[in-house]
């Protein structure tokens, strides 16, 4: 099944004659709709399929009698099990992801019987001369759960701190809608949403919000963040489900059918990370380094060529099932305003990725940076001193005293981090005399450099786990995506330093590591400039490196070098990276060839499984130009072909 090169729009609005019925038409572009846009107009893109009567986009006014059936969510190739030659079939981006147009009552009946046998939800419109006369819904059979309804009711009636009461009352109908609408879907989304609800229930139930530090506000913040994410997710994903006329999406270009397919695709990306890196329990492993007390070397003095720096410290940690904390669920959604952004419980991708994720500029691979932030924040909770705790601050001061060594490996890593932060500050302030550190200055330093420390750790972490240390891809990925953000030219200096620090991880053992990293980055940036893909920021970055390597960039990179070492030695594990980067399906025999043996072909939708959605993105996000059709194909593969459970 091959996607056609063109796509059309399905357009629905109330009939002009004032009757309560809807008129429906298929139009080749949105341009045809805009001049007559009415209050009730709703549209969604529909994608033609070669050989199934919809390869070219043209106006279809539906004169005479027709049946238009919406089905899904299912892998499109399954429709071939009952396909008849005269049918026209399109793909959509909604949860009703297949659109079948036929004229014959018997054929329509055959389609509905097939759908009923396969337990596929569908909605059929009987159309005469472009007007919808009747709507018939074939519901999917599913088990209606009582338990979540009971839990949400309990939460609604719970006695909470006054600050939380209204927020909970606002949250309950949103999560109830999301759960009720996801409950009848085949699988996946419902359990993700149940986890989110459970997390909220636990968070509100387990704390005494009044007596805890910060009062109820941390929980309130959490709740509001999830509420905001859920509102978007629910509107985007479940709009355009039965009855379609009653479920409108706020994204006007998708107002008829919503964006359920991209939502599932995005959810699969976050679920994959949770099932690999999340399941590896990195923060717990890292915390377990606090139990390593023997043979802990002085990390500030230890030469980089010593074996200790290349041991798989995290992989060697044996975790017991006891005390295993459940993962914080991540709710994913699209947002034009937030773009790529993460919080403890939510992650967003730009809306533009829906029509442009085939291009490097809008690659979904960028989400790995946000996912890395989520993980690094959890690790920093173990590594970074707690600024609210006097004990933690005085322990940090002790670690900074001359001649002190950490009692455990974790403390020794903390000591290295603290010394690095002082170095970073000295370089930043151009300070020649050492700063006198006391309980006040240390808090200021730690507050000031938290973000920068996090960014360096995230960049190197992302580079090692998701980009496999491939600097060309990484530099291209980050600089091309930065090119989409307006007005950030004042950040170019820090971006250059971060990029060189990232490249440094491949050269740590070399005598001239910093220069090697710089040259590698410059080579990549020059290529981007030559290709014309980097935009104005790349030109500025190259000029900055040429003009200020010695006086600004080099001292900053040297000051941050130990952060790079910390990531490679104590946050990266080859064993865990294997689970994140491996692909076990679809690889051919022999040497890796084009697309590394993937048998997937761009634009071709087949019932083939892939086990690693990020590997797929890495191989297929290649275009310089955005294409809605190619992007739809990628979203379909991510939504319907990912199966990481068997790998």
């Amino acid at each position: 099944m091959k996607l056609a090169n063109e796509y059309s729009f399905l357009n629905v609005e109330y009939c002009a004659n004032g009757s309560p019925c809807h008129s429906v038409s298929i139009l080749p572009t949105l341009k045809n709709v805009l001049p007559t846009w009415a209050v009730s107009t709703r549209v969604s893109p529909i994608f033609g399929i070669k050989g199934l009567g919809t390869a070219s986009s043209s106006t279809l006014e539906l004169r005479g009698d027709w049946f238009l059936t919406f089905l899904g969510p299912i892998h499109p190739e399954r429709i071939l099990e009952c396909y008849q030659k005269k049918w026209k079939i399109w793909l959509t981006l909604g949860l009703f992801n297949l659109l079948v147009l036929n004229r014959d009552n018997e054929e329509k009946r055959k389609l509905l019987t097939w759908a009923r046998d396969g337990n596929i939800e569908c909605e059929t419109w009987t159309i005469r001369n472009g007007e919808v006369l009747r709507v018939h819904v074939t519901n999917r059979k599913y088990k209606k759960s009582v338990s979540w309804r009971r839990e949400v009711s309990k939460l609604y009636n719970a006695r909470l701190a006054p600050e939380l009461t209204q927020a909970v009352k606002d949250y309950c109908p949103v999560i109830a809608t999301a759960l009720a609408r996801s409950e009848k879907l085949p699988e996946g989304l419902f359990s993700d949403l149940s986890d989110i609800n459970q997390f909220i229930m636990d968070d509100l139930g387990n704390h005494d919000q009044q007596s805890e530090e910060g009062g109820p506000y941390p929980s309130l913040g959490q709740l509001l963040t999830i509420h905001a994410g859920l509102t978007r997710f629910t509107s985007q994903t479940f709009s355009g489900t039965s009855r379609i006329f009653e479920t409108e999406c706020h994204l006007r270009g998708h107002s008829l059918l919503g964006i359920g397919v991209p939502s599932i695709a995005l959810a699969h990306l976050t679920e994959f990370i949770q099932s690999t890196l999340g399941a590896a329990r990195l923060p717990e492993r890292f915390a377990a380094l606090g139990s390593v007390k023997t043979n802990v070397p002085d990390l500030c003095e230890l030469k980089i060529r010593e074996d200790f720096w290349t041991r798989d410290h995290l992989g060697e940690v044996e975790l017991s099932d006891e005390g295993e904390t459940s993962q914080v669920p991540l709710l994913s959604y699209f947002s034009a305003r937030d773009g790529f952004k993460s919080t403890l419980t939510t992650i967003s991708a730009p809306l533009s990725t829906i029509s442009s994720c085939n291009s490097l500029r809008w690659s979904l691979l960028t989400i790995t940076h946000e996912l890395s932030h989520v993980l690094i924040r959890s690790i920093l909770a173990e590594l970074y001193p707690d600024l609210e705790s006097e004990r933690s601050i005085s322990a940090s001061l002790e670690l900074l005293e001359k001649g002190t060594r950490g009692a455990t490996l974790l403390e020794e890593i903390q000591r290295l981090l603290l010394i690095t932060i002082v170095q970073i500050d000295n370089v930043s302030a151009n300070r020649l005399e050492p700063l006198e550190i006391d309980s006040e200055t240390i808090v200021i330093l730690l507050e000031q450099w938290y973000r920068e420390v996090q960014e360096i750790l995230v960049h190197v972490f992302d580079f090692l786990y998701f980009y496999g240390g491939e600097i060309d891809k990484y530099v291209e990925g980050i600089w091309v995506s930065w090119g989409t953000i307006p007005n950030i030219k004042n950040r170019i200096r820090e971006y250059v330093v971060r990029t060189v620090c990232t490249a440094l991880v491949n050269h740590l053992e070399r005598a001239n590591a910093e220069e090697m990293a710089r040259d590698q980055v410059v080579r990549c940036l020059r290529r981007l400039r030559k290709d014309g893909t980097g935009g104005a920021y790349v030109k500025r970055a190259l000029k900055y490196v040429a003009d200020h390597w010695e006086d600004e960039i080099l001292p900053r990179v040297v000051a941050r070098k130990d952060l790079v070492k910390i990531v490679r030695a104590f946050l990266f594990s080859a064993t865990i990276a294997t689970s994140v980067r491996k692909e076990t399906t679809g690889l051919g025999g022999g040497e890796p060839s084009e697309k590394e043996g993937y048998t997937l072909k761009s634009g071709s939708l087949e019932l083939k499984e892939i086990s690693n959605p990020f590997h797929f993105l890495e191989l297929f996000t290649k275009s310089k130009r955005p294409s809605a059709v190619e992007s739809a194909w990628m979203l379909y593969v991510l939504a319907f072909c990912v199966n990481y459970n068997d790998s």
Binding site: E77, L80, E81, Y83, L464, Y467, G468, G469, E470, N506, A574, T575, A577, T578, V580, R581, K582, E583, T584, T585, G586, L587, G588, G589, G590, E591, P592, G597, T599, E606, L607, K608, E609, S647
Partner: protein, 211 residues
């Protein structure tokens, strides 16, 4: 017209989503002609009359006929030709026109198979293994191992956790040459003989039941 001489066979293990694959379905492709069976086995030999050269022959050397060996079992079809190029061509140009939905490659779980043989030695041993090393990205992409019994080498055993195997060769633990080479994407190859096809069938049976 010349029929190629079959020795090493390579092809694909396929599955039909719409059910059993009958011989008539294959014969509805007019370029495929049934020839005979391999000895007294259920393996069928066909000749395929290709409109174009598939193995680098001169384009003007007449018609191009290739031997094709098939084993059908319910919805499964193992189809092999005398060169790697033949079966993908037949699948694309012929079988995809006959079967709708198209035949699908059967994923062979090579990675779990290699790891199971390494952990629990049994009737078969590994004579070849090719693996990706995903953790190190471009710094180290893939590795290959050759030997009489790879899992018996501690070096191999110690590093399997970091590798994702996608092609392997199997031989019997009691000795002999390699029976068959299997790939993740359903590719299969072996050297043709009546005894060998029986052994290959046994291996596939073993894979289906044990893995």
């Amino acid at each position: 017209m010349t029929v190629d001489y079959i020795k090493t066979l390579s092809g694909l293990l396929l599955d039909s989503p719409s059910g059993a694959i009958e011989k008539e379905y294959l014969l509805s492709c007019h370029r495929l002609k049934f020839f005979n069976t391999v000895g007294r086995t259920n393996w069928e030999v066909y000749s395929y009359h290709s409109p174009e050269p598939l193995r680098g022959e001169e384009p003007d050397s007449g018609s191009f006929v290739y031997s094709v060996v098939c084993r059908r079992s319910r919805s499964r079809l193992l189809i092999l030709g005398s060169g790697r190029e033949i079966v993908p061509y037949i699948l694309d140009k012929e079988l995809n026109q006959i079967f709708n939905p198209h035949l699908r490659r059967v994923q062979i779980a090579v990675d779990p198979l290699v790891k199971a043989i390494t952990m629990r030695p049994g009737d078969y041993v590994l004579s070849f293994a090719h693996a990706r090393v995903p953790a190190f990205g471009v710094n180290l992409r893939s590795v290959s191992f050759y030997g009489d019994d790879l899992a018996n080498a501690t070096f191999f055993k110690d590093h399997t956790a970091l590798m994702t195997f996608f092609t392997c060769g199997l031989r019997q633990a009691i000795g002999g040459t390699e029976i068959v080479r299997l790939s993740n994407d359903g590719s299969i190859s072996f050297i043709l003989s009546e005894d060998r096809v029986i052994e290959v069938e046994r291996v596939l049976h073993f894979l289906r039941n044990e893995h």
